[in-house]
Structures are given as C-alpha cells and as structure tokens.
Symmetry: C2
Subunit: 340 residues, 2 copies
DNA sequence: ATTTAGCACTCAAGGTTTCAGAGTGCTAAC
DNA sequence: GTTAGCACTCTGAAACCTTGAGTGCTAAAT
C-alpha cells in the first residue's frame, strides 16, 4: 500500500526524529546517503504520507514529524532487529552474574539496569508463581490479643500477617491450631487456599472450642487480605530528561498515575505474552497518552510469571528497547527457572 | 533589635507572601487592618528591614519578599501557635481511630494524612526500636543449597533472609542449629546480636561438624546484612503544585535527591529531638536549598523511635505545619506506646 | 509521466519597541 | 517623626519586525 520510496522516506523521518526530537524537512532527508531524489520529489512523497496519516506537520511550514500511526507502522513493519552493543550486553550480563538468591534483588537490579540502559522509566511486575504451594505456616503470639502468622511457600516466598486473638486463647491451643493448619494446608496451592480455609478446615475446627473458631476467623481474614502486588520502578526522573516532557503539567499527571500502583499492575498483568508495544493513544490510561509503553513477559516453563516494561515518550528508540527487553526477559526467565 | 513596627511590617510581609507567593508592596501593607501608617512610612521601615537582611527585592522597583533570615526570625520569634481547624483535627483523628495492628499501615496512613493536609511532601522514618530483642528464629530449608531464616522480634517485627547451605548439611542438623540458636539468642537485644553471633555461639558451634560451621558462616553473613531503613514518603507530586517549583530543573534535582533514601534517612535520623525547622540554605543537601524541611520525632517512653517530616518550599505555612507535626507525632507516640 | 528547479508564501522564534502599572526612594512640607 | 508628592525604575504584556526553515504549486526538464 505504501510505495518503496514512501517507506524509505518514512523510515528516515522516524529514525531521525527519534534521535533529534526535531521536525524533519525535505532538504534534510535528501541529504541522507541512501536517498537519491531531490527535495521536491520528497516533498511530494511527504504530502502523500501526510494524507495517509503517517506523518504530521507541527505547523503549516514546518518539517514533518511521525504520527502515532507512523510509529505503529514502523514498529509493525520497519523495525530492524537491533544489535545491542557489547557495552549494553555487558551491563546486562553483570546484573545477573552476581550470585543472588533473593528474587527481590534480582528484580530490583533488573529494573535499575533497564532504566540505566534506556534513560526511560522501567517498571517490573514481580513474579507471581501460580503453582506456588504452602510450605509451612507458623504462628507466633505477640501479646495477649495479637499474633503474627508467617507463611512460607515452596518458592521460598515469605509473608506475614498480623491478626487478633481472643485473650482467652491459650498458647498451647495456638500451637495445636498451627499443627492442624500445617497438617491440612501444607502443599495446598496458594490459589486454592481460600476454598480450603472456608471448607474442610473450618468444619474440622468447629469441633474445638469457640476460642478456636474465633481465632480462626481472625486468621482467615488476615490470610485472605489481598497481598499488595509488588511493583518495582526505577528511573522515574528519567522522563524529565525528554524534551517532550519539559512541561510540568504532563509530568505531574504522569507521576500521579505512576503512584497508582494497582492500576499499573493491572495494566502489566493483562499485557499478554511476549513483547507488546502500546503507542500514545493506544494506552488506556489517559495520563499515558503521550507515552509509549513496551511490555515483555518472563516465565517459568510455560507459565507466565510477570512483566517487565519501559515507559517513555512516543518518540522512543523502539528497536533498541525491544531488543533490550527481549534479552532481559529471557535472562529473568532463566534465573527463575534455575531456582524453582 | 527590631522595633515593634518593623516586626509588624515583617509579619505582614511574611504572612502575605506565604499566602500569595507574590512580592508585597508598601501600599498593600498599609491597607492591612492593624496597620495605621502610610505607605511612605512603611517604605522607610522596609528599607531598614532590607538593610538588616530580613527582606529582599526581586528587582529594583518590586515589592518585598522575605529572605531566609526573615523566615528564620519568623519561625524563632513571631510564629503564633496555630489552631488547627476541626476538619484538620478530624482527618488526623480518623487516621488513628481505625483498628490497626501493623505499624507499617499506621505509618503509611500517617504519611498520607500529612501530605493531604499540607500539600507538601511527607517523609516518615519508620520506627527503630532499640530495645528490640529477638523473640524467635526459624530456619526453613528451601532447596538443597538454600534456606531462609525468619526472625521475629518482641515488637512483632518479622524479617527474613536467604542464605546458602552446604549441600551435605542434613535437615536434622539444620533443626539442631535452629535449636541452638534459639537457646542462645532469644531475648538478646538486636543491637547486641552481632557480637553474640561472633562470640559465644560461634565458639560453641565449632564443636560440631564443619558443615555446621559453614552454614553458620552463611547465616551470619545474611543476618548482619544491614537491613534497609524504612522510609515512607507521600505526596511527592505535591511539590509541583507550588509556583516556585514550576521549573523542571529544580524538580528534577529534588526528585533525584528524594530517591537517595539513605541520605534522607540519615538526615532524619540525626535531626534531634522535637521539632526542627531547616530553612533553605540551612539544609545540608544542595538540592534542598530552595526548600524548608520541618522534622518532628516520635518516641516510645523516653526513647526516640523515628522522625516525621514535611518538605516544601521555603515559603511554607510554618505555623500550621508545626502544629500538624506536633499533633501527629504525639499521636504516633501514643500508638506505639499502646503496643509495646 | 516522473522528476526537478524555481518561486511565492507561511509560520515560529527571537529581537526590539512601546506602554501601562506597580512600586520605590527622595525631598519637602506637615 | 510622619506623610504627600513626584520623578524614576523595572517588569510583563502586547505589537511589530526580521530571519530562516520549510512548504506547495507550477512549469520546465528528463
């Protein structure tokens, strides 16, 4: 649908604009090596490209700037696989070669390297292992009427929840409760914990004292409390380096949306497998509609664990960013696969 | 050293400037209710105040603006105790009346209410209880060569650390190790943990197999790893609402410094007891020298637990902020005293 | 039938000028 | 000591040029 030459012109405009953030004129394009037409010819092509919606003018007599449709075409059809520099690969390499046995650290460092390499803002949705099962539950009484339950999963994840305990509940009874829970719940997939808590175990505990029941009620509530999603961001200030964000209002609204972690988490969680690019208006969140968001997923075997993403201006180094995300997501997958 | 009338004029200038962020002229001052002199007289007084360094002009024929010295004088001598509105008190009240048994939540909500009430950025340094003792230690083996140690303190704080284990180490031995550690370490103040780990216990364990020693070495390392300070911030975007920060560069440098949590934590930790106001250049961190930082401490009995702070422009509503911090720090202290 | 040179036209950005308004400092009168 | 009056200063906005980059169109060249 586009002629070879139109594509060539579009490519130059996009490549150049990504570098300079300045509108590109016909003369500038004509000077490019692999372009062998006069500015006038290029102007004709540009007029067509504009009519088709791939490029825009910032004002009547300005050079051209890629439109979102233009970027979309670029990402879908024109993007050449980017060969990362040795330096970039080295930085990623070094992130993973240090012995780390905590996923938090791995993810944090990944976020850091992502934002350092790209000068955009990196966002990582921490791993959610759906096959996770409960490995052990432990209850420690803190005061007369409070206690803390500690859960350890087979993936080594540790969580704790505070809950109330009737003052009449004895420490021995608490231990008994723990034993029962361990008996019944160890090995249960976390996703099934809820039904287990309400079914079998609840029934069984009714045989004991009312204190048992009350304690169990508190505990159940604490355990079911939705655990906050783990979102790791880095390079938040990088956005301000971009010339298109030299405007306080844009920054303000963008920062506000970044504080809404649950929205971001939802966005990343529903991003689907593999690399996905959302350009400008394609983004659901209004505050992000001047940005592009590129997401990639990492996984354990076949199961998708989490998402890594980069947020930057629509004028983004798409091909480089995609390469980086590709490399990093597979490195992350490797790491997790080596553990579980 | 300042005459009554000079003080009056200074007060009006500061009060007015805090509200409007605009330079104040002699005419505007003369119009104020409790001022009964002509603009000309006021101009004379202002010339004196300027010579003394309490106020400044933004240009030759502009109105006056308070200098940092002026704010300092205001904070030290002029500030009247601010009576918080019922609405404000209500918001604070509501923050604390909900039943909460996790200090994280309490602190998070406090940070939120602080920034909501003031439209500045709130920073809270989480409680560090120095009398904290170890209540229980638990080790759970995760794989052939890794395990996680879970520490619970008498204050109900839970931490966990991952560490390596020699593959030849048996699970039974691990349990033995846990028993020994619990025997020796329970009740030990966290601050003395380090010496205990190196002294007594280390010696004792030498009697056992080399696996024991190796495991212990890994564990020790993991336990001593400095736990990151807990810093809670809220209302980071509020800064952008202030007209004096309608400048990207300032915001950028301020945000960058806010990301350096250890520096901020150090700043707050060394802020000393009670309310402290640092105005502009008085701040150590260069990026904060357009800001004022007001800190207050909360405590458990006599012992200082942590710090709450507000960061805003030097043109800050000092008296209101001080009142809010006063109320909130005592409410926080109350809460913690009711627990421990 | 393309491609290109030429040319008139447009617009943004930056510099100058002008003007009004707010505010000052000084002087002289009260 | 206080105040009215006045000349002076400076900012900020508006109006106006000027320049340069870039366009679209037309007509000639290929």
């Amino acid at each position: 649908m586009l002629t070879e030459r139109q594509i060539q012109v579009l490519q130059v405009i996009i490549d150049e604009f990504i570098q300079t953030a300045q509108p590109i004129g016909s003369r500038a394009i004509a000077k490019k090596e692999d372009i062998s037409f006069s500015p006038a010819t290029i102007r004709n092509e540009m007029a067509d490209l504009e009519e088709l919606g791939f490029i825009e003018k910032t004002h009547t007599s300005s050079g051209r700037v890629p439109s979102e449709k233009g970027y979309r075409f670029y990402v879908d059809n024109l993007m050449s696989p980017f060969r990362l520099s040795n330096q970039d690969m080295g930085m990623i390499q070094r992130t993973f070669e240090r012995e780390m046995i905590e996923f938090e650290k791995v993810v944090q460092k990944s976020a850091r390297v992502l934002s350092d390499l790209t000068n955009y803002t990196s966002i990582i949705l921490g791993p959610e292992v759906f096959e996770t099962t409960l490995k052990q539950i432990q209850i420690i009484s803190l005061s007369e009427h409070t206690a803390v339950a500690i859960l350890v999963t087979n993936t080594g994840h540790v969580e704790h929840r505070y809950f109330n305990v009737p003052t009449t509940m004895q420490t021995v009874d608490l231990e008994k409760l723990v034993n029962i829970l361990n008996d019944r719940l160890v090995g249960v997939p976390i996703v099934h914990l809820q039904q287990k808590l309400y079914g079998e175990v609840a029934q069984m505990l009714q045989r004991y004292s009312s204190d048992f029941e009350a304690t169990y009620a508190y505990l159940k509530e604490a355990l079911l409390e939705k655990q906050p999603v783990k979102l790791y961001m880095d390079g938040k200030t990088n956005i301000m380096l971009q010339p298109e964000f030299h405007d306080i209002d844009k920054i303000q609204s963008l920062y506000s949306v970044m504080e809404k972690e649950d929205q971001i988490a939802h966005l990343l969680r529903t991003s689907g497998k593999g690399i996905k690019v959302s350009i400008g208006q394609e983004n659901e969140l209004a505050a992000m509609q001047d940005c592009s968001l590129i997401t990639a997923t990492y996984s354990l075997g076949d199961e998708q664990l989490g998402t890594i993403a980069l947020l930057g201006p629509t004028r983004m180094e798409y091909s480089r960013v995609v390469s980086i995300l590709n490399v990093l997501s597979s490195r992350l997958s490797q790491k997790f696969n080596s553990w579980y």
